[in-house]
């Protein structure tokens, strides 16, 4: 598998990372290098082996349905670049509207 320059631009756009035109070729080389390294796994014959979804064979642990968290608005908003509204109760972001 090999990524072309357009795919690099598209990945950057989807990840909301600004990539200058001068950086595309370099990133393309690096990402293709990483993919090639991972593709070595294809050399292993996995026919007839059940796919493993994690390193552990444990199943998901569950919590009880009880309210044990929340009511920590100031902590949740502590890193907000801007708080807004009565008591600064909301995160403020640039207007995003359809």
């Amino acid at each position: 598998m090999s990524l072309d320059a357009d795919t690099i631009r598209r990945i950057a756009m989807l990840a909301r990372i600004r990539v200058g035109e001068d950086e595309v070729a370099k990133l393309q080389g690096e990402l293709n290098g990483i993919l090639a390294w991972i593709e070595q796994l294809n050399e292993v014959d996995t026919d007839g082996v059940t796919p493993l979804s994690g390193a552990s064979r444990l199943a998901l642990r569950m919590r009880e349905d009880a309210v044990t968290d929340g009511d920590i608005r100031d902590k949740v908003l502590a890193n907000a670049p801007e708080r807004i509204g009565p008591d600064g109760a909301f995160f403020a972001v640039p207007k995003v509207v359809e």
Binding site: R10, M13, L14, R16, S53, G54, S56, L58, A59, L60, R61, M62, R63, E64, D65, A66, V67, T68, D69, G70, D71, I72, R73, K75, V76, L77, E82, I84, G85, A89, F90, F91, A92, V93, P94, K95, V96, V97, E98
Partner: protein
């Protein structure tokens, strides 16, 4: 009847599939211990998991899983004992993690079926493709400030069930019937409150059109429609738009659209152009969800009786016609009320009273069945008073109105107002004789062949007896005296 739309090039069929997002009823969120209650102060029901702080680990809520399984069972669907969680990646201000934890290739519930009831009395089966669990996003308020959006994360992380139907729906009416039935089932199960105004149930409507006999054409998705009526309108509006595009020689492009309820039209959501590349991948924080078959069986054993089964039982046990049974099972509270009235009595008579005078009184006073001044027990007593001939049907209506007004017991009302039916033939004889004497001219006309006057005499006698005469006896005595 097949629903079709006429274009300039002929007849078109409409093909619809619905994706319903139903908020799960639970105390805490899907992967955190923060509360789910509606209407709390902004950002007070948010944990670090919901706000996607680095290093926080989601732990799944057992009750949310149980609710999804119950819903699957209620939809006659396959329960997958092993399912998995994936990350659906997209950027939006009210999605703090930049991804939604959802289920992509391995949902918790597989194929099922819903039987919908159509207004003409027929039924149709609509296939369910799947049901999966996922997180809700937060809420953005765009109308508070000229250049800012406000973000409230209280809803972020609340459990949703996405219920996807097969493209088996063929008309706005069927779409409405499907949502009505699904909502009914969810409410019976207690897995979602079905409140579309508060957003706890929302529908994405997939619409395409085709000429009869054709394969499916390209579909468009109308997002986030928040009432059954709007879904029905959106189906027709979108179908008509697509027909116009095809007939003008154009091609319908697969895209996401919005329904404008004020204009009754749909419009393109251009911002979603790139959004469909969600880059799903397995959530590395979450192991596969493995269910114990015995636990699933336990949930199954405790499912409530669902609307279809209840309607069938009402028809069998209380001799109700299908229409009455459907109306009475629409809401669990109504069904319970009806059954309390009907038990040990004439089921059809009970249905007539509940669906007639009782519903009318609730409508008139703007009350819900839970707020009804007339309890099922007192309505039952009123029927007993009719059936043991203590009062007649006309007086019963008067007693019922007094019950609505005061909430009093019908026996007490009958006694206080002296409304007991007169079955004393002596009193009826006298009243009849008096009426006939006063209306000698009409008696002559009647005897001359004007049979219709009989009703007039009944009315006059009842009036003379303040409505309390036993109608059967009054008829009998009148016939005898008129000879």
């Amino acid at each position: 009847m097949t629903y079709t739309l006429e274009g300039t090039t002929g007849t078109w069929e409409v093909v619809v599939g619905l994706e319903v997002h139903a908020q799960v009823i639970s105390k805490a969120k899907l992967f955190s211990g923060a509360a789910t209650a509606f209407g709390a102060e902004p950002n007070t029901q948010v944990s670090f998991v919901d706000a996607a702080f680095p290093g926080m680990l989601p732990v799944i809520n057992r009750e949310c899983v149980a609710q999804a399984v119950r819903t699957g069972l209620g939809l006659n669907a396959q329960i997958n004992l092993e399912s998995r969680f994936d990350r659906k990646n997209y950027f939006y201000a009210d999605l703090p993690a930049g991804y939604q934890i959802s289920q992509y290739q391995h949902p918790i519930v597989g194929t099922g079926v819903i039987t919908i009831d159509l207004p003409d009395g027929t039924s149709k089966e609509i296939g369910i493709t799947r049901l999966h669990l996922e997180q809700d996003a937060g809420k953005s308020l765009h109308d508070q400030h000229p250049t800012k959006s406000y973000i409230d994360l209280n809803r972020a992380g609340v459990a949703l069930m996405e219920i996807v139907s097969e493209p088996d729906i063929r008309s706005p009416e069927e779409a409405g019937a499907y949502l009505t039935k699904l909502r009914q089932i969810l409410r019976y199960l207690g897995t979602c409150d079905g409140n579309m105004e508060e957003g706890s149930m929302r529908a994405d409507v997939n619409v395409s059109v085709r000429k009869p006999g054709e394969a499916y054409r390209t579909r468009c998705e109308v997002k986030n429609v928040n009432s059954i009526r709007f879904v029905m309108q959106a189906v027709e509006a979108e179908a008509r738009r697509q027909i116009a595009v095809w007939e003008e020689g154009g091609e319908v492009a697969q895209e996401t659209r919005l329904f404008d309820s004020a204009r009754g039209t749909t419009r393109s959501m251009r911002s979603k152009e790139h959004a469909h590349d969600y880059r799903y991948f397995p959530d590395p924080d979450l192991l596969p969800l493995v269910l114990d078959p015995a636990w699933v069986e336990g949930l199954k054993a405790h499912l409530p009786e669902l609307p279809d089964a209840k309607a069938a039982r009402f028809m069998k046990d209380y001799g109700l016609p299908a229409y009455d049974a459907r109306v009475l099972v629409a809401e669990q509270a109504t069904a319970d009320f009806y059954e309390a009235v009907a038990k040990g009595r004439d089921g059809k008579q009970a249905a007539n009273w509940v669906m007639g005078d009782f519903f009318a009184a609730l409508n008139r006073t703007g009350r819900s069945i839970e707020e009804s001044p007339v309890s099922a027990a007192s309505l039952g007593k009123l029927l007993d008073l009719i059936n043991d001939a203590t009062i007649n049907g006309r007086i019963a209506k008067e007693v019922f109105e007094a019950m609505v007004e005061t909430g009093d017991d019908p026996v007490a009302i009958v006694d206080a107002k002296g409304l007991r039916q007169v079955t004393d033939t002596g009193a009826i004889d006298a009243a009849v004789a008096e009426v006939l004497a006063k209306n000698a001219d009409k008696v002559a006309e009647y005897r001359g062949g004007k049979d219709k006057l009989f009703g007039f005499f009944v009315g006059q006698v009842m009036k003379a007896m303040a409505g309390k005469g036993n109608p059967a006896l009054v008829n009998e005595v009148l016939k005898k005296q008129l000879g």
